[in-house]
Symmetry: none
Subunit: 411 residues, 2 copies
C-alpha cells in the first residue's frame, strides 16, 4: 500500500518556504506500513492541481493533500478534488455554525468568505479541526482515499492524529512496528552516529534515524516485524546496546524532552528553579515553560540584558563587571548566585555570552558563553564556544547546554 | 516561461529529510523571471521517475532534476532521462579521466561502478562538478530543457551558479521583477484578504501572496513586467492602495519585523523597554532580543511565573492577586507599572494569561490573556482570548499582540 502527498499553495513554491507537513505525515504513514512513493508541491492553480490529483490517484492508494482549505479565492483544494473526482459539493450547516461560533468567541464577525470553508464533497467524511476554522475531508473513491488537511502545521498535526490515524489503521496492511527512541545531548551528531553505527548496521527489519536540532539529538530504532513481540524485542535490544554505549549522554528513553526531564527531577525533589539570562534574552525561561505544569517547580527569572540590570536585579557588583566583563566566569557565577539569593529558589541557572553578530565592548568572541548552575551545594560555571555564525543558533545551543548542565547535577 | 523541479532519491522521501536544494534553485529561477510551478520528490524507482519526467516535460519549459547522479545501482537519473526522451547514452572519455584523477589525488583506486558517472546522453552538454565526481548534464529537447544536477547541496549550488545561470539567462524571457511587502498585524488573515482582494484581483502581471504566522501577517505584491520601472510602478501602486485600506494595521513596508520596528521607535526616541511576563515565560523578551543591537533599548525583564514572584519582584500586592487572580486586568496593570518602577525604564509590557492546556486555580479560561503597556503617560491593559487550543500558539499570539500594542503607542 502506498501514498502520495501533495502540498498546495503558491507560497510553498517560493524560495523561502519548505513543505514540512509531509515529514510528519510520512512518519505516521510509515509507522502504519504505508510507503510514501512521491511528494508534490503545486501552486494555487486549479488546472495544475486537478491534473496532479488525478495523476496521484493513478499512482497511489492514498492521496494526502495539505493546504488550500482556507476561506479565500486562492484556496482551491476542495474545488480541485471535486473536479478531479467528478463529484458535487454542498454547504454543511454544522460546520458553518462551528465557524460562526469560533468568530463569536473571539468577538469578531465571520467574514462572508469563510462560508467557503463549509463546502463538503458529496460522500466525504468531515475531519474536525480543533485549532482553526478549516475542517478536513476524507473521501473514498473506488478502492482509494483522498484526504484533505489544512496547511497550518498545528492544525494539520492535531487533525491527522485525532481523525486520520484510526481511519488509516483500518485500511493499512497488517504489520507490527515498534520504535525505541533515545534522546541524547552533550555530544555531536557524528559522535553519536559513530558510537551507535556498529550496533545497528546490517540489522534486518530495523530502520535507524538520527535527528539533530541545535545540540538536541535523538536516535530512533524502528523495527517492523510480523508480530508486535518481535518488533519490540528487536528495537529494545538495539536501544539497550546503544544506551550503554552512549552512557550519561542519554537523557531520556521515553521520548521526553530535556526540559521535561529536568522538570521531573525538580518536581520529585520538591525543589524550585529560577533563571538569570543575558544573551539568550528569555529563551531559557521560555523553553522551560513550554512544559504544561512547569509552574510547580519553575518560579520565574530575570532577563538582565543591560549591565545595570545585572547589578540592580541580581546584585552583581559593578566592580566585578568592570574587571572581568559581562561575559565572564565571575559574572555567570554572580548572576546564578544572585538569582538564587534574591528569589530563595533551590536552583538557579545563569547564561551570559555573545550571540553575535558582532563583538561587543567586552571583547567576548562571537559564540562565547559562560553557563552557571547554582544549587544547594555549590555553584559551577562552564565555558563554551559555539562558532555557528548564527545568532539564533548560538542562543539555542546555549539554552540546550544550560539545561544539560542542570540535568547532570540533578540526577 | 516556467520550470518544474524534481528531487530524486528514496532518502528524500523519509520522515527526516527535506529537499532544500529546490529553495536555492527557485530563488535563482525567479530572479530570471522563470516561475516554478511545481516541485516533486520521487524515490529510486525507474518507472515512476520516467513518468514524472515525462509529465513535467508536458507541463514545463524547463525541468531541473537534483540527485540520482551517483555511481550506484540506485542512481537512476541518467537512465530515466534517456528513457523519457528516447535517446541513447555513451561513455565520455574526458569525464572518466577526471574521475580517475580525482580518486588518484585522494590516493584511492576508482571503484568500477564510478564509470557509470561518465555516461552522457546523446546531444547533452556536460556541466562540470568542482566539488565531487558526478558531472551534471544540460539536454535540450525540442523547445524545452532538461537539467540534471547532483544531490549534495554544495555540489549543486556550485554547478548551478557556474554552469546554469549563464545558460538560463540566454533562454529566459526579458523580464523585470519588483516585489513590495506589507507586514500587518491586529487583524485576521481572512480580514486582510477581504480588505486587499478588491485591489489586487484581476491585475495582470501581478502575483499576490498572503502569509500568516501566529497573528503576524504579510502580503506580498510581486510584479513581473518588461522593464524594471514598470514592475516597480505596478507593485508600488497596488501596495500603496492596500496600505491605505489596511490603515494602522500595517506596521512595516520595508520587510522589517514587528520587534525590529518597535526597536527603531525606541532607539529614535532614546527610550528603554522592560518586560514582565507570566504565561509567555520569557518568550516576549526572547523575541525582542532576536534583533541584533537590541541592547540599545531593551534593558531586560522579569519572568514572574509563580505568584510570589509577581509580589516579590514587581510589588504586585498579595491582596490584589487574592481578590482578582493572577490573570486579571489589575494584575497586568500592576505588573507593567511594577516593572517600570523597579527598573526605571520608559516603557514596560506585561503579559499574564492562561496558555493552557487546563484551567488553573484562578479559573481563567484557556487562551485568556491580559496585556499591559505602561509608558511615560499612562498604563493601558487589553483583554484578549485566543481559543487556539495549543499552548505554544496561544503564547505566540500573546507575544505578537503585546508587541503590537506597544508599537501602536510608540508611533
Amino acid at each position: 500500500m502506498n501514498a502520495e502527498i501533495i502540498a498546495v499553495g503558491s507560497e510553498m513554491l517560493t524560495a523561502g518556504r519548505l513543505d514540512t507537513n509531509s515529514l510528519f505525515i510520512t512518519d505516521h504513514l510509515n509507522g502504519l506500513g504505508i510507503e510514501v512513493t512521491a511528494k508534490h508541491v503545486v501552486g494555487d492553480d486549479r488546472a495544475r492541481l486537478v491534473t496532479t490529483i488525478r495523476r496521484s490517484l493513478e499512482d497511489a492508494d492514498i492521496v494526502v493533500l495539505s493546504g488550500g482549505l482556507g476561506p479565500t479565492e486562492d484556496d482551491l483544494t476542495r474545488d480541485a478534488v471535486a473536479q478531479a473526482l467528478g463529484c458535487g459539493m454542498s454547504a454543511n450547516a454544522g460546520i458553518l455554525e462551528a465557524i460562526e461560533t469560533r468568530f463569536r468567541t473571539m468577538k469578531r464577525q465571520m467574514p462572508e468568505i469563510n462560508k467557503r470553508q463549509a463546502m463538503v464533497l458529496d460522500g466525504a467524511e468531515i475531519l474536525s479541526n480543533d485549532r482553526g476554522t478549516a475542517p478536513g475531508q476524507w473521501r473514498v473513491t473506488g478502492n482509494k482515499v483522498v484526504v484533505m488537511l489544512p496547511g497550518p502545521p498545528s492544525e494539520l498535526k492535531s487533525m491527522f492524529t485525532r481523525e486520520c490515524l484510526g481511519r488509516l489503521a483500518k485500511i493499512a496492511p497488517p504489520t507490527a512496528i515498534h520504535t525505541e527512541v533515545l534522546r541524547v545531548t552533550g555530544i555531536s551528531e557524528s559522535q553519536l552516529d559513530q558510537t551507535v553505527a556498529p550496533i545497528y548496521v546490517g540489522r534486518a527489519n530495523l530502520e535507524t534515524t538520527v535527528l539533530a536540532h541545535d545540540g538536541d539529538l535523538q536516535v530512533r530504532f524502528r523495527a517492523q516485524c510480523k508480530t508486535q513481540a518481535d518488533a519490540a524485542a528487536l528495537s529494545q535490544e538495539v536501544a539497550e546496546l546503544a544506551a550503554v554505549a552512549l552512557g550519561d549522554n542519554v537523557y531520556s528513553r521515553d521520548g521526553a524532552s530535556l526540559e521535561t526531564v529536568v522538570g521531573r527531577h525538580l518536581a520529585a525533589a520538591g525543589q524550585t528553579l529560577v533563571v538569570a539570562e543575558s544573551a539568550t534574552g528569555g529563551g531559557l525561561a521560555a523553553r522551560i515553560t513550554t512544559v504544561p505544569g512547569s509552574s510547580a517547580y519553575f518560579a520565574g527569572g530575570f532577563v538582565t540584558y543591560a549591565k545595570r540590570m545585572k547589578t540592580e536585579l541580581l546584585g552583581v557588583p559593578e566592580s566585578l563587571l568592570a574587571e572581568f566583563g559581562a561575559v565572564s566566569e565571575p559574572t555567570a557565577k554572580a548572576m546564578a548566585e544572585g538569582a538564587r539569593r534574591v528569589t530563595g529558589a533551590d536552583w538557579a541557572i545563569s547564561i551570559t555570552g555573545n550571540a553575535g553578530p558582532s563583538t561587543d565592548g567586552d571583547q567576548a568572541r562571537v559564540g562565547e558563553f559562560y553557563l552557571g548552575v547554582a544549587g544547594p551545594d555549590k555553584t559551577e560555571v562552564t565555558h563554551r564556544v559555539w562558532p555557528v555564525g548564527d545568532r539564533d543558533r548560538a542562543r539555542a545551543f546555549a539554552v540546550q547546554a544550560a539545561l544539560d548542565l542542570l540535568n547532570r547535577r540533578l540526577r
